[in-house]
Assembly symmetry: D2
Homo-oligomer: 372 residues x 4
C-alpha cells in the first residue's frame, strides 16, 4: 500500500513507554512497516525489568511480542534508536526531551512542554506539514546537530483542528466556541478516581481550556521563515470529563469568514483529502474527516475507532443562531489525540529524510551519552 | 416557616402520575403543607388499580402512604381536586389539559404542549411571576371559567434561566451559548436504553435545542398586557445526553450589555434573592442560585440535591474570550426542571388566590364531567 | 489455515437478522471462508427495506458490504439458503424454526425454544459434538426430510460448560455453584433501560437461573442412541445484570469427584485442546480455555475479546472451603455465548456433511414455500 | 424517641476523620442526640488546617457546621474526648488504636487490625452484644485502665451476618456460599481508578474473601467467659468490585440445620426484632432486616438507603438446589458496613456505662499524653 522510502526499518524508541499513551505507541509499533521498536524507557527506573513485567497493560490486545522482552531503560540519551517517540509525563518531559535532541535524536513528542516553544513545530501532518520548515532554525538556535523536537497537540485540540482545517481552507475561520466531553483515558492511569466520575461529570480539567484556546492558533497559523504567526482566531473552550473510556466529543460552533450553506460545509468536510505525500504514510487516512448522517452520531463508544482511531468523525452539521454552523465532532483521544498523530509525525519526518541523518551517524559510531 | 394563606389544604390531582415526573410530584405532595393529594390519573387506564400497584416507583424513598391506596383514574375532567398538576406525556397532554381547564380546573403543567401558546404563562416564579397577568385574557379568549393553564419550562431551560435572570437584571443580556450534558432521567422511563448510553454520550435529544433556544426568550421577556414580548436574545444551544442519573449540567458563555467584572457577576448571582411573597412559598428558596468556589464543581452526582433540588448551582465563573463570561451550572432536572417548579407555580397561584375560585365552586357542587 | 471441505460456499440465511445477536451473525458472515450470506429475515416485515435501512446497527465495525443491500424478508421458509442461522426472539422462534426445518432447511438456532426438546441437540462443539447423532432420530420422529434443528445454549451457560468440560473429563464433576454478573447486551435492544442499570445491579434475569441449572445437564450428559441422559450434577445459579456492555463474568465453585491439586486443575484447563476435526473449523480455537495468572482478571472490558470472543477466560483458580475449587470465568456473551457458537455449530455440521443434502436438493429445484 | 441515658453529651473524637468512612462518622455525629464531636484527627498532619480545609468531602450534604472549624489533630492520644471512633487506615490503625486505649480512651474502631484479636469484641449489636463481656478481660490482659478496643466487621461481612443471625436463631446454620458485588466507595478515596472499573467488573478485592470467611465465625460464635468460640460454619466467599457508588450486594446460598419452608425463612427475617435496650439506641432500627417482595430487588442504587442505611435489605428468597435457600441481600457499605455500625457500637457502650469511666476521669484531670 504505502511505499516505504528505504529498505531498512528505522529504529524507534519510546520514552514514557509504560503510561497509557506510551502503551499505545508500543502497540502501534508492534507491526509497523517502517519502524522497529528497539528501546523502551521510563522516568522511574524499573531496574532491569522487562517491558512485560514493568507495564500495567490497559489495551485489550496483548503486549506485542517484540516489546515483551525489551529491558525498560532510564532517560539517559544513549539508546540504540534512530529517533524517539516521547509520551513522557510533563513533569519530566521538558529537560529530558531536550537532552535527547541535544544528543542527536529526533524527538517526536506528545508532551505539552515544548508545544508552544517559538522554534518547535506543533504538528498535525494533515494541517500544517509546512511547519517542519522550522526545524533547521531550531537546530541552529539550540545548537542541536541531528536532533530536534517536534510535538503534537493536546488530545482535545487534535480532533478539533483536523475538522477546522478544511473549513479554514474553504471559508476562512473567525470564531470558534467549543465544549468538550472528554474520556477518562485522557487523564492517564491511575488518573481519575472512580469515586469522582462514576455516574458524574467533572466540569474541569486542569490547564485544558488554556491549551485548547492557544494551540489551534499555532496549528492553523503559519511559519513565516523565522517565526510562527498565530491564526488570530476568536476561540472559547469549556472542558469537561465524562464517564467514557475512550473518545473525546466536542460541541463546536463556528463563525466563518465567507458565507456558506450547510451543504457546502458538509461537502468541504467530506471532501477533505490529503496529498500524495501524506497518503503514502502508513498511518495516514486519505480522508481523515468522516461525516455521519445519523443525527445521533458521533458517539464515543460507537465511533471512536473510525479510521483505526485516526479519523475525526463529524455529525449534526446544522445552523447556529449565534455563529454560522454548529457541529459535533469526535476523535480517539489516545490515537488521533496522542499516539497516532505522534506516529504520523514520525512517518512524515521519515518520508522527508529528517530521520536519516541520525541513522547515518548511528551507523558510524555508537552514540555517546551526553552528560547534562 | 411559611404562612399558609388559608386553613384548609387545597386538593391537588396529578395527571400522568405514574411517570418519572409524576412520581416526583406525588412524592413532593406527600407531606406538603398547603396541598393534599386527592387524585392520581394516567393516560393508560389502570383499571381500578391502586397507585401502589400501578406505579413502577423509581425514587429511593417509599411511595407516600397518602398516595398508595388512591385509585388511578383516567383523564376525564371529573376529579375531586381544586387544581391539577400535569406531568402528562406530550402525546396526550395537549387536548387533555385543555379539557381540564375548560372544566374549571387550574392546570399547572410540566408538559411542553402549551408552553409557547400566546396566552399561556411559561412560568418560573423567581423569574417572571408577572406573567400570571396573562391568565384573565387566556380565560376570556378560550371561554374558560375558573380554569386556566400555566406551564413550566423544559428541564434544561429552567436552570439556565434561573441563572440568567440575575445577570439580565444587573447587566443586561445579549448573547448566550449553552451546551448541555443532560441526565438520563430527563428522558423518562423506560427512556434511554442502556445499550445507547452505557459508557457513552449521545449528542442529540430530539427537540431539545429548539426548546432551549425558544423558551428563554419568553421567560425573560415581558407580558405587555396583551401579549408576550420576547427577550430578543441571541441564543445557541447544543444538547447532549450523558450517563448520569440526575442533574443537568450546562456550560454557558454569556455576552452582557454592560461591562462587569467576574467578581460583580459572582456577586450578582450570589445575592439573587426572591421577594417576600415568593419566600413565603413552601417550596421556594430565598437564594435560588448557589455559587460554589471549588473549581471542579458543580457536579451532578454531588450537587444536584442542593436546596432540596430547587437551587441552580453555579461554578467556574471565568472570562470568555468570545463573549464576556463563562460559567458552569447545574440543576436537578426532575425537581427544579420539572416537578419542583410546577409545584412552586401552584404555590404562587395559591398565594395569589387563583386556586380559590375553583375551590369555591367545588364546595357548591360536584364537578360535572364535560364531554369532549 | 482451515481446509474448506468443498469449493462452493454454503448459502447462509439469518433469521432475526436485525437483533443484537443477528447483527453479530451478519458481521461474522461478512468474510466467512465457508459461508456466504444470501438472505436476511426478521419477524416484523420491513416491507422491502434493505438490511442497511432496516437495522439499527450496534457494532463498531460497519455493516458488511455483502449484507447492506440484501432485502429483509419475512419468516416464510422459501429463502435461497442451504441452511438457516436463527437468532429469532423466543416469542416467535418456536414454530418458525420448525417451519424451516420441515421445509428442508437445517436450522442452527440460538433461541431457547427447542433447546430442551428430547430429540434436539443442544450443542457446543468442543463439549458434546457426539450429540449430533440425535439428528437422524429427530428427522424421523418429526417427519423432516433434509431439515433439522440444532441449538446452542444460553449465553451464560456456554462459557460455564466450556470451562466445566475439561474438569469433567479430568476429575469428574459433582456440584457447581455459580453466580453470574451479566452484561446488558445479553438483553438485546432496547433491552435494559438505563434508568434501571446505571450505577446499579439488578439481581434478577427472568428465566436465566432456570436455564443455567438445566442446560449444563444436557450439554455435559450423553446421547445414548435414543435419548439424552442428564449429567446428574448438583447445580445452583444466581444471575445478576451489571452495567457492563459485553462479557458475562461468572464466579464458580466446583466440587470434583476426584481429588485434584489447584495446579492440576489449572493444567487441565490450560491443556484443554480440541481434536483435529474441530481445529479445522474456521471459527474454532485450538485451546478454547485461556487461563490468566493476574489475580485481578478476567475482567469483561479487558478480556471479553480473547480468542476473537470465542475463548472462555479463567482466572483466580483457588481453594473453596465448601466445595473443592473456586474460579472466575468470563466469556463474550454475543460471540461464544450466541453468534460464535451458532456459527461454529454450523461449521461442524458442514464439515460432517449435514448441510450438503439440503444444498443438493437446492441445486435441483427452487425451494417451494410450505404452507403452515 | 430514644431516652438518652444521661443529660450531658459524650465527647466523641474521630480518628481518620478525612477519609471516606471518617466523613460519614463526622456527618452522622453532626446532629447526634448523645454524642458531640469535639475532635478530629488524621494520620497525616494537616498542620493546623480546619476540618473544612483539610477534607475532600464526598457526601452530598454539606460538612456539618459543628465540624467545619475543628482543627485537624495528629494521632497523639491527648484529645479532649470521652471516646474515639476510629476510621484509620489499616496501615496505621494497629498501634494508634492501642495507644489511645492505653491512654484510657474507649476506641470504637472500624479498622481491621484488631478485629480478630482474641480479647477484642468484633461487634454488631443486633448480633452479638454479649461479646462486650470480653472487655474486662481485655483491659486486664493489656493493662488498660478505662480504655479498651471494640471493633465492627468488614463492610461486606456486616450485612451478611445481620441477615444470617435470625436464620441461625431460628434454624441453625451449616453452610454459606456468598458472592459479593461491592461498591467502589468501599475502597476509599482515591481508591479504584475509573480506568479499572468503568463499564467493568474487577473480580478481586485484596484480603476481602479471607475476612468474609473468618469474621462471621467470630460474630456468630460465642464468648465463653475467657475466649471467643467460633461458629463452626462452612463458608465460601467470592468478592467482586462493580461500578456502583454505594451498596454492597451479596448473592447467598444457605444450608440450614433444621428444615424450613421458604415462607418460614422469609418470616424469620421479617420478624427479626431487636430487644428494648437496642431499640432505645439512637441509630438502631427495631427491625434491621427488610424483606422486599419485588423479584428484581434489592438494588444498590434504589435500596442502599433503606432504614437510613442501617437496614440489611433481602429479596429473592428462593430454593437452592445445592444448599437450602438462596437469597440476595444488600447493605450500605459506609453506614451499616462501617460508620453506622461503629456508631451503634458506641451507643451500646454508652448505654451500658462503658463510656462513663473515661468521662469521669476526664472530669478530674486533663488527659496526659502517653509516650509510645
Amino acid at each position: 500500500m504505502q511505499s516505504k522510502p528505504s529498505e531498512k526499518k528505522w529504529k524507534a524508541g519510546v520514552l514514557g513507554a509504560t503510561g497509557v499513551v506510551g502503551q499505545r505507541l508500543v502497540q502501534m509499533l508492534g507491526d509497523h512497516p517502517w519502524f522497529e521498536l528497539t528501546e523502551v524507557a521510563a522516568s522511574e527506573r524499573s531496574s532491569g525489568k522487562t517491558y512485560a513485567e514493568a507495564v500495567r497493560w490497559h489495551l485489550d490486545s496483548p503486549v506485542p511480542e517484540s516489546a515483551r522482552g525489551l529491558i525498560v531503560k532510564g532517560l539517559d540519551p544513549s539508546l540504540d534508536c534512530d529517533f524517539m517517540l516521547s509520551a513522557l509525563d510533563s513533569s519530566v518531559a521538558g529537560p529530558a526531551e531536550e537532552d535527547f535532541a541535544r544528543a542527536g535524536y529526533p524527538v517526536v513528542s506528545n508532551s505539552r512542554n515544548h508545544r508552544m516553544d517559538p522554534d518547535v513545530p506543533l504538528l498535525i501532518p494533515e494541517v500544517n506539514a509546512a511547519h517542519l520548515d522550522a526545524i533547521p532554525l531550531q537546530q541552529k538556535n539550540r545548537g542541536y546537530d541531528t536532533g530536534f523536537i517536534v510535538t503534537n497537540p493536546n488530545c482535545s485540540t487534535a480532533g478539533l483542528v483536523l475538522v477546522l482545517k478544511p473549513l479554514a481552507d474553504a471559508f476562512g475561520l473567525e470564531k470558534i466556541f467549543v465544549v468538550t466531553l472528554q474520556a477518562i483515558s485522557g487523564a492517564g492511569y491511575p488518573g481519575v478516581p472512580a469515586m469522582d466520575i462514576q455516574g458524574n461529570v467533572v466540569p474541569f480539567i486542569s490547564g485544558e481550556e488554556e491549551k485548547m484556546e492557544l494551540e489551534p492558533q499555532k496549528l492553523l497559523g503559519k511559519w513565516d521563515g523565522s517565526r510562527f504567526v498565530d491564526a488570530g482566531l476568536g476561540l472559547s473552550a469549556h472542558c469537561n470529563r465524562v464517564p467514557v473510556v475512550v473518545g473525546h466529543l466536542e460541541c463546536v460552533s463556528v463563525g466563518l469568514k465567507k458565507i456558506a450553506s450547510l451543504e457546502e460545509v458538509r461537502e468541504a468536510l467530506r471532501s477533505f483529502e490529503v496529498d500524495a505525500e501524506l497518503a503514502s504514510l502508513p498511518t495516514a487516512l486519505r480522508n481523515p474527516v468522516v461525516v455521519l448522517d445519523d443525527e445521533s452520531r458521533p458517539q464515543p463508544r460507537r465511533d471512536a475507532n473510525a479510521g483505526n482511531g485516526m479519523a475525526a468523525v463529524v455529525g449534526r452539521v446544522r445552523e447556529c443562531p449565534l455563529l454560522d454552523v454548529k457541529l459535533t465532532l469526535l476523535s480517539h483521544n489516545l490515537v488521533r489525540g496522542a499516539a497516532g498523530t505522534a506516529l504520523l509525525n514520525a512517518e512524515l519526518l521519515a518520508a522527508r529524510g529528517f530521520l536519516n541523518r541520525r541513522a547515518a551517524v548511528q551507523n558510524q559510531s555508537v552514540a555517546e551519552p551526553v552528560s547534562r
